[in-house]
Symmetry: C2
């Protein structure tokens, strides 16, 4: 397969950014790679790992690249896009990997120069690890990547979307196009709320006086442990996600809380039939997920982890 | 190793009960095995699987056994104990495997005849599967089993506790003694609340109009999928757990909700520092769990699953 891009630039070299470099290299998806991270330590590590040529500034990294992937914490994406805008080549594609897409779409629309194809993106993949050493080439294998194109229908833009799709496909991902606002609502349910809940329950447990932290850890296999894994995800990234996707998260959270109050009331009044009805319904949903995973060539939902 | 009991009786042959039979057989922990389940279908299956001699009534099963393990749904434990009480041999041990222990302790105290050693118990193990075919001999390997002895200090009782501990140890479990009320609080945090939350979030997601169930399933790898697994646990068992451990569950749930309101408010007002502070703290707790698992001979917290 011939390379899809000539020169790929990755800005931000944590778990996702470094995995993009590794996966793209493994797939031969570009001819050359350049990277920038605001941390000098991370830049040095990227160089040591041989993942990419390292630039001293984001602008230098972006200059001459035909694909620029911003893989910074979500809140920095808009500012970084503004910072590199004037360095972007005409015909280049600008994308990102953040979990909240409407905010990125608006930032890209505001700053991307004419002739640059801005396409917000989101690989639905990750682990609870962070940093350039946590990345690996298989992170995106059989995982969805959602692209949220701008409302443009001109042929060069549509071709740029095709090309970016091919890049993610080459890295093993299955690509889906989605409207940015809808993406944010879907992810608020399937990812953001689960993370918020997990962070919250681990915090609640840690604050109990009657149960020690060591007891919580010891008996965590009964369900709690799964939450601690999710609640070990990158704090800065998740802070940004909740702030950037505030409206959708608060909307879903309000529904969740309402439902939880109803459950709480059913427990208090001993309404076992209501509890059983809900628990039977949720079990059926799980069966649907498992069945979907078995029947089709859909992405395997297991985690692609190193450890 | 000589058998620990002469005749082990298991009442209720679902995931846990059938696993006790399998694990005890594999360990040679008793000479003979007898079982009862209120479902004729399950009784036939237990017979087919060769797990135990099958009795026609709970009383017949209990008669002559020196260990009786009630492995029914939690709400039935008290009634079953009452039903078999007069059939229990003097010197026999009566135990159970339910997730709420104070209610069982009170029921056992009320009905166990003199000369019977009643010892509530709880193996902290399980999968989201149910039924006699879901059980397996390794379910308890390297998992905690908590025994909650009655407030008795006489030597025969303490010996009975020792003997029951040896039985669980033979099946691969690590045994811990705990006061029943404290058990219920610890498990409310580490198991009951996580299950309640998981059931709730899956229900909330299923009710959304704007996001289809197929989208939720498709993009569930971002965190949601872990919740669906937990929310696929046995509906009747979990209904019973919440009703039997109502006080502890409602207490922990109230704290959880309070904390969640504070988080919600921080998101609404853009207080990123508060979010980041919590997320950093919860990450440290996960590191503690992982470190504990690596450093010591503690039970591995991974799931012992067949599939």
């Amino acid at each position: 397969m011939p390379p899809i891009y000539r020169r790929v630039c990755v800005i931000g070299c944590g778990l996702i950014g470094s995995s993009v470099l590794r996966a793209a290299r493994a797939a031969g998806a570009a001819e050359t790679y350049v990277a920038y991270d605001r941390s000098a330590e991370v830049r040095a590590r990227v160089s040591e790992l041989g993942l990419a040529e390292v630039a001293d500034t984001a602008e230098d990294a972006a200059r001459g690249a035909d694909l620029v992937v911003i893989a910074s914490p979500p809140a920095a994406i808009g500012a970084l896009a503004g910072q590199i805008a004037s360095a972007l080549s005409s015909g280049a594609t600008l994308t990102d990997v953040g979990s909240a897409k409407q905010a990125v779409l608006e930032a890209f629309e505001a700053v991307a120069p004419e002739g640059v194809f801005a396409i917000p993106g989101h690989p639905v993949a990750g682990t609870e690890q962070s940093g350039p050493d946590a990345g690996f080439a298989e992170l995106f294998a059989n995982r969805w990547t959602i692209l949220c194109p701008l409302p443009r229908k001109d042929a060069p833009y549509l071709e740029a979307v095709e090309r970016l799709s091919a890049f993610w496909t080459a890295m093993g991902s299955v690509v889906e196009l989605m409207e940015a606002r809808h993406h944010d609502l879907v992810l608020a349910v399937t990812s953001h709320l689960p993370h918020l809940i997990a962070y919250n329950i681990v915090g609640t447990a840690a604050d109990l006086e009657e149960v020690t932290e060591s007891e919580v850890m010891k008996f965590s296999a009964g369900g709690f442990r799964d939450f601690t894994r999710i609640a070990a995800s990158d704090p800065v990234m998740w802070r940004d996600v909740f702030l950037l996707n505030k409206d959708a998260v608060l909307e879903i959270l309000a529904r969740f809380t309402e439902d939880l109050q109803a459950l709480s009331r059913a427990i208090r009044w001993g309404e076992g039939d209501k509890l059983e009805a809900l628990f039977t319904r949720t079990r059926a949903i799980r069966k649907g997920i498992v069945a979907a995973g078995q029947e089709s060539a859909e992405p395997n939902f297991g985690r692609n982890r190193k450890s």
